[in-house]
């Protein structure tokens, strides 16, 4: 593979847990008189908090869609049951597999960044596998949409289809964001500027997209 890694990238090793609130001495000078122990105080990089905050917002958005579905379905005379396109189950396998490969990739890259350089195992390889699986998932979803469309089931055919499209497209849009994140990770790895927190945050996002998809599949399967 074309990725060559001349030197281990910048890393944040032996990050010490922040010692309770207030010691978030973020890139701080330590006063001359201070306890030297404080030098080790190091708050977690914001990306690791930020990703949870972002995921909370995404959760709220999908919770809103879900409650819209429940309210809209309750007492609606026009609700029609739909059969999910079977390709969705294949897609589910793809996205679950992508989480597994990403986890392998994450550990390898982390080990590599930690200085455990194993030239035989190109750490980026599994990232590419993950990217491939992610793109296949999007392709599979697109196939499902096209298939439904070919059968004459559009966004406005019935409200069940409206929700089907809204939820799957909203998820796919977020997933494409994750693909962008992975591409960014690969790019940074190649330039040796990848930070551990970026890698971890991106993989958390990716895993979350997998969990979200499984939830959505369950919701659609149960409700539609």
């Amino acid at each position: 593979m074309a990725t060559t890694l001349p030197e281990p990238p910048k890393i944040e090793r032996d990050r010490l847990p922040s010692q309770g609130s207030g010691n978030g001495g973020w890139r701080n000078l330590v006063p001359a008189s201070a306890d030297p122990r404080q030098v080790k105080d190091y708050s977690p990089p914001p990306a690791s908090t930020g990703i949870w905050v972002g995921l909370a917002a995404i959760t709220m958005t999908f919770a809103a869609f879900t409650s819209a579905l429940v309210v809209r379905q309750g007492g609606a005379p026009d609700w029609r049951h739909i059969t999910l396109p079977p390709v969705l189950y294949l897609n589910t396998l793809l996205i679950v597999a992508s989480s597994v490969t990403l986890e392998i990739a994450r550990r390898r890259v982390a080990a590599f960044m930690g200085g455990l350089k194993d030239p035989a195992a190109n750490p980026a390889r599994w990232l590419f596998v993950t990217l491939f699986l992610g793109l296949s998932f999007v392709a599979g979803q697109t196939y499902a949409w096209l298939q439904l469309k070919a059968q004459g089931f559009g966004l406005a055919t019935n409200v069940s289809y409206s929700f089907f499209y809204v939820l799957t497209v909203a998820h796919a849009v977020h997933l494409v964001g994750g693909i962008g994140g992975l591409v960014r990770v690969v790019g940074k790895l190649n330039k040796s500027v990848l930070r551990r927190s970026t890698l971890d945050a991106t993989s958390r996002y990716w895993h979350f997209m997998g969990v979200l998809w499984v939830y959505l599949l369950f919701l659609l399967w149960m409700k539609l």
């Binding site: 309770g20 609130s21 207030g22 010691n23 978030g24 001495g25 973020w26 890139r27 701080n28 000078l29 330590v30 006063p31 008189s33 201070a34 404080q38 030098v39 105080d41 190091y42 708050s43 977690p44 990089p45 914001p46 990306a47 908090t49 930020g50 905050v53 972002g54 909370a56 917002a57 995404i58 709220m60 958005t61 919770a63 809103a64 869609f65 409650s67 819209a68 309210v71 809209r72 309750g74 609606a76 005379p77 026009d78 609700w79 966004l155 406005a156 409200v159 409206s162 809204v166 909203a170």
Partner: protein, 593 residues
């Protein structure tokens, strides 16, 4: 070991004009950009309110040049009924979203939150820059609806379905106008989500050494709590807007019921739920009113403490009360739907937390009053507007108790009583919070002082004026005056017209008083007396850095915090105030660790 000897700048200081002033990554520039946007929006919103008020007082009065805004909406310079509603909708939307959310939260929060936490910048400066520019685009999408199709939407800032979802049969602006409205708001949501993400992570992760959570000033707490609300509320409004847009452009039926006949036309939709919109909207909408007011609570506390030269009775209780407001604000939203045909049991279920939410509000007010009692408050424009805030918040809050009870609300719902309630408690109070913040922080933001005599004139005119405008609203509402009417032709309304005339006159005078503020702002920006770094002798971190603060906020040495934010009049200390960064040992048993 990490190299911690040099406080490396998070991102280098910008060199090009574009990077410095336009697509800036610096939270201080972004804060000022938000402020400018809010100011522009407020002026537009105020102009709209003048046009509406003149129309309500003197329905046939021709406002010169009005036809230029819309020849069909104001033929002969007099508003058509529909155009009145269109302007009203734009007034509400502009004010709630682009003024009351952007100024106290996004503008001041951006400028001061990182400084008050002792950070060099927000953790995700690119997101921060996007947050402003996305909001900016959202604003112009909304404004664009004035000039395309048949004008802006007339559905009110709450955009109730089915009117908002049926398209152009619903009247002017209900086609393209609603689509632009919903697009604008969805974009706005993205902007505020990005902002909230930054605010939350700044507060949690970026605090400087020694800055424990309880050592954060009340303003920082208020912005933090607000950003948590913003994160959850805007994440719900955005999908709601997307569904609304789909009902327009894709022919879906989320919000429009079957067989609806409008203007003799059967609509093609089927089975939609009209109440669904109200649920989604108010799940956002009620937290939104607290998003507008909580930053003001923080600003007012901060300003008063500095001018009283003593801390609030309890720092913690204020923080917990604001947090309680935030949590409860998600449980009360149904009080906007008492009259929606909701199950009476649900009404009861929403009435109860609505009454409970008055408890933390009352505690906050009592904290202020109790702390003010017996204090030697320095009177200046900032502290006057803070007192005004408290006054407005109480006056507007009291009417909330009435509205919170479904049996009373059945009569008062959709009357001017509600309009009076929310203008005092949210509109005017939040504006006063913005003013207090402006007079207080202007020297830090620009290096110059604002004129005090002009500020005081601005205060008294606004204070008396706001009461003259909004107190009579309550009377009108009790007399049965329905809101969102453009003329009062019914028998029982005609006797009320003199009240409307009085209100209109008060509104015009109060409006002109705001021009004093704008003049003061612009004049002082360039000609005001130059100030020192700490004109009010404040203790929090924004006062320990230079004016204007350097690119990384604190220059070569990042601050280390040793004290609570409000160490005023400490016994035995070397001066009347001990700054958070002062290593001086003081004997204050109540100090937070």
């Amino acid at each position: 070991m990490h190299d911690m000897s040099a406080p490396a700048a998070h991102h280098g200081a910008p060199t090009s004009f574009i990077r410095k002033h336009v697509f800036s990554l610096d939270h201080k520039v972004i804060g000022k950009q938000y402020y400018a946007l809010a100011l522009l929006a407020a002026l537009i919103g105020m102009a709209l309110s003048w046009i509406m008020r003149i129309h309500l007082g003197w329905g046939n009065f021709a406002i010169p040049g009005l036809h230029l805004l819309s020849s069909t909406g104001a033929p002969g310079n007099v508003l058509t009924p529909e155009y009145y509603l269109q302007l009203m909708t734009m007034h509400g939307t502009i004010m709630v979203f682009f003024v009351l959310t952007t100024a106290p939260f996004a503008a001041f929060g951006n400028f001061f939150l990182p400084i008050q936490t002792g950070a060099e910048d927000m953790p995700f400066p690119h997101f921060n820059m996007m947050s402003f520019w996305v909001t900016f685009v959202g604003f112009w999408v909304l404004i664009a609806s004035f000039f395309v199709g048949d004008g802006p939407t007339l559905g009110g800032w709450t955009q109730y379905a089915p009117l908002s979802a049926i398209g152009s049969v619903g009247g002017p602006g209900q086609g393209l106008g609603v689509v632009l409205w919903a697009t604008s708001i969805a974009i706005f949501c993205i902007g505020q989500l990005l902002g909230s993400l930054n605010f939350i992570t700044t507060t949690l992760d970026m605090r400087c050494k020694g800055m424990s959570l309880m050592r954060l000033p009340l303003t920082a707490w208020a912005w933090f709590i607000t950003s948590v609300m913003g994160l959850t509320a805007f994440a719900v409004l955005m999908p709601a807007c997307i569904l609304l847009i789909l009902d327009h452009v894709a022919g879906t039926s989320f919000f429009v019921a079957s067989n609806l006949v409008i203007n003799d036309q059967v609509l093609p939709h089927s089975g939609g739920s009209t109440l669904l919109w109200q649920h989604l909207f108010w799940f956002f909408g009620h937290p939104e009113v607290y998003i507008a007011i909580v930053p003001g609570m923080g600003i007012v506390s901060h300003v008063l403490i500095t001018n009283m030269r003593k801390p609030m009775l309890s720092h913690r209780v204020l923080i917990y009360s604001m947090a309680a407001l935030a949590v409860l604000s998600y449980m009360v939203y149904g009080h906007h739907m008492f009259v929606s045909g909701m199950n009476p049991v649900s009404s009861l279920a929403f009435s109860f937390p609505t009454l409970v939410i008055t408890i933390p509000s009352t505690i906050v007010v009592l904290m202020w009053l109790g702390s003010l009692y017996g204090s030697k408050l320095q009177i200046n424009s900032a502290s006057l507007f803070s007192l005004g805030f408290i006054s407005m918040f109480i006056s507007g809050g009291v009417s909330g108790f009435f509205l919170a009870q479904p049996s009373i609300d059945i009569m008062l719902h959709a009357t001017y009583f509600v309009v009076g309630h929310f203008h005092l408690v949210m509109g005017v109070a939040a504006m006063f919070g913005i003013f207090a913040g402006t007079y207080f922080w202007f020297p830090k933001m620009t290096g110059r002082m604002m004129s005090e005599p002009l500020g005081k004139a601005h205060f008294w005119l606004s204070f008396v004026g706001a009461y003259c405008i909004f107190m009579p609203f309550h009377y009108l509402g009790i007399a049965g005056n329905v809101r969102r009417y453009q003329a009062f032709t019914d028998d029982y309304l005609i006797p009320l017209i003199p009240v409307h005339k009085f209100i209109t006159i008060a509104a015009l005078i109060t409006g002109f008083a705001q021009l004093i503020f704008v003049y003061n702002l612009i004049y002082s920006r360039f000609k005001g007396p130059v100030e020192t770094d700490n004109p009010w002798q404040g203790t929090s971190l924004e006062w320990s850095t230079a004016t204007p603060p350097p690119h990384n906020n604190f220059g070569a040495t990042m601050p280390v915090v040793y004290h609570d934010p409000y160490q005023y009049s400490v016994e035995g200390a070397s001066s009347d105030f001990v700054m958070q960064t002062s290593p001086e040992k003081i004997n204050n048993p109540n100090e937070e660790k």
